[in-house]
């Protein structure tokens, strides 16, 4: 028995998300009286792999194979399922991000293992196995029982605290064979921006809506974000109008995020918008309309004109950072 964690790396480095998964899996393994194992695919240095041990991984299976450079869903899920069977895994843990969402459902069918997608905390019960997750785009939560012997969980980002345990993990370099012809996904081009804080990783997000009036008014909002080390975001109409890039659109049909702090500036708080941001730990709203629905979701609010309030906020943050 064991709990297997699929860890992604980004150019050979792990992220906080990876450590959240290991922390989660290690806690879960304790509840099940077993150990957690991390699986890493791709070139990652030993010192980086050892970090997984710090958060409780008991063993780290490291696989390097050039035919795994491209994410081919079929090849990856077959490989992970094979390892899961060999290690007699009872739970597989993945992130509820693009890659996790691509692989977890395939693993579910391959292993006949029930999938708990986007769980936000440890299982509420082990026998029967019951997980807790967001449903109806955040308008409700559900307890879901997984009936199969093997279980697959994808964990919502930033919903589980890191726990350092200083296990000394054993690193096992494992050879696998992937035939050239097996990889059917063919990469033509990769377009990537670097250096920008990713919206899904950001702990603070500053977001603007139609109440910002024109794209020219974004200056202070961007300045505020950079002072706070935050990412910038926007509501759907703003990206539809082309005021801001599409990657910034949050909500039901955009990115779903759960930062520690979310600023909604000139955003009315439509249910479809809240669907993407309601898991934020703290929400601050700035809006001219005191009855705007965003104030029902917000912890702190300012009723006022964003265009006038933002420069003052920027000054206040500068003063704070100056200290």
């Amino acid at each position: 028995m064991s709990v297997l964690v699929f860890t992604e790396n980004w150019d050979g480095k792990f992220k906080k998300l990876s450590f959240e998964l290991i922390s989660y899996a290690t806690k879960l393994a304790e509840m099940l009286n077993t150990k957690s194992i991390a699986l890493s695919i791709g070139e990652v240095e030993k010192s980086e792999l050892e970090k997984l041990g710090k958060y409780g991984a008991h063993k780290i299976i490291s696989i390097i194979n050039k035919n795994l450079d491209i994410l081919d869903n079929q090849v990856y899920s077959q490989l992970i399922a094979d390892i899961a069977q060999k290690e007699e895994v009872t739970v597989i843990v993945l992130a509820n991000n693009n890659v996790g969402k691509a692989l977890a459902p395939r693993l579910s069918v391959r292993l006949k293992a029930g999938l708990g997608a986007g769980v936000t905390k440890l299982p509420v019960n082990i026998d029967p196995f019951v997980v807790y997750k967001k449903v109806y785009s955040g308008n409700a939560f559900a307890e879901v029982r997984i009936k199969s012997e093997i279980k697959i969980l994808t964990i919502a980002q930033n919903s589980f605290d890191l726990i350092e345990t200083y296990n000394h993990a054993e690193i096992v370099n494992t050879e696998v064979f992937v035939a050239d012809g097996q990889v059917k996904t063919q990469m033509l081009e990769v377009q990537k921006q670097t250096g920008k804080i990713l919206l899904t990783d950001a702990e603070i997000v500053v977001s603007g809506g139609r109440g910002m009036k024109t794209p020219d008014n974004w200056g202070p909002l961007i300045e505020m974000a950079s002072l706070l080390g935050a990412a910038t975001a926007c509501s759907r109409p703003v990206s539809d109008e082309g005021w801001r890039p599409h990657e910034e659109h949050t909500g039901q049909t955009g990115k779903i995020i759960s930062p520690n702090l979310y600023f909604a500036i000139g955003i009315s708080g439509a249910t479809q918008h809240l669907a993407g941001v309601s898991s934020s730990k703290v929400i601050v709203a700035i809006n001219t309309d005191k009855d705007a629905p965003i104030f029902e979701a917000a912890n702190y609010g300012i009723v006022g004109d964003a265009i006038k309030v933002l420069p003052k906020l920027v000054d206040a943050i500068k003063e704070l950072k100056g200290k």
Partner: protein, 249 residues
């Protein structure tokens, strides 16, 4: 080439959900049912591809697992422009069950491209597309924000952190689509609504398969603590609260 779009029937996205039966079942009184927004965009893209004869798409069909009560939603998909529909006559027990039923439909009616939305707005599972591809033993691409066809080959954009990959993959495949796949959902015109009445909905009975999960309890989010208001003339106070009370900056 033929494209299949798998559609889910969900409460309108503005629905204030409520539960009955000891919080085990959605209260459907007064609920407006719609095509899941992602699936609607997937269907829109499928129809756009069919519009250009160079792409060689002969047919766009939709498939749904659900009871007869979902037929208005299926008719809407036909009115938007799908040529025919498949319905597996069963309550959708869970994603695994739904994907298994859809795979049976596709085994007897093969398609070259199968489109699923990234998630349904009810269970937010992001599951059916991936599961379906595994049941069919074919490849899948997730996080798809664009599909084009060039010389019979699919050119696919896959979103990755901070960018995208442009890739190709042989048919048949399942594409799990998200933002970007189509701009605005296509709206049914009067002519489409009339034509939809005579388009076929092929109904089949489910195969016997167990679900792997079940919802045992729903709950509504806990009300947030009341919003604390700060004087707009003195936003400095907000920063102090975030620092000293919320301890977050």
């Amino acid at each position: 080439m033929k494209i299949l779009v798998c559609i889910s029937n969900v409460p309108d996205t503005t629905t204030k959900v409520k539960f009955i039966d000891n919080s085990r079942t959605l209260d459907t009184v007064g609920v407006q049912w719609v095509i899941n927004p992602w699936d609607e965009l997937a269907l829109t893209r499928a129809l756009e591809l069919k519009d250009d004869p160079a792409n060689g798409i002969q047919q766009v069909a939709v498939a749904h697992v659900g009871l007869v009560s979902a037929e208005p939603t299926i008719r809407k998909a036909l009115a938007i422009g799908a040529d025919e529909a498949f319905r597996v006559n069963s309550y959708a027990k869970d994603a695994f069950f739904v994907a298994a039923q859809l795979s049976e439909v596709i085994k007897t009616n093969p398609f070259d491209i199968i489109l699923c939305g990234i998630e349904s707005s009810d269970y937010n599972g992001s599951s059916v597309g991936g599961m379906l591809s595994e049941f069919l033993g074919i490849n899948s691409v997730s996080a798809v924000s664009s599909i084009k066809i060039e010389n019979g080959k699919s050119l696919i954009h896959r979103e990755i952190d901070g960018g995208k990959e442009i890739l190709t993959i042989p048919s048949p495949y399942v594409a799990i689509v998200q933002k970007g796949i189509a701009k605005e959902p296509r709206i049914a015109a009067m002519r489409g609504i009339m034509m939809a009445r005579t388009k076929p909905i092929k109904v089949s009975e489910p195969v016997d398969i167990d679900s792997l999960t079940e919802v045992i309890h729903f709950e509504l989010p806990k009300p947030r603590t009341a919003c604390k208001f700060v004087d707009p003339e003195n936003p400095k106070q907000l920063i102090e609260l975030l620092q000293n009370e919320a301890k977050i900056i």
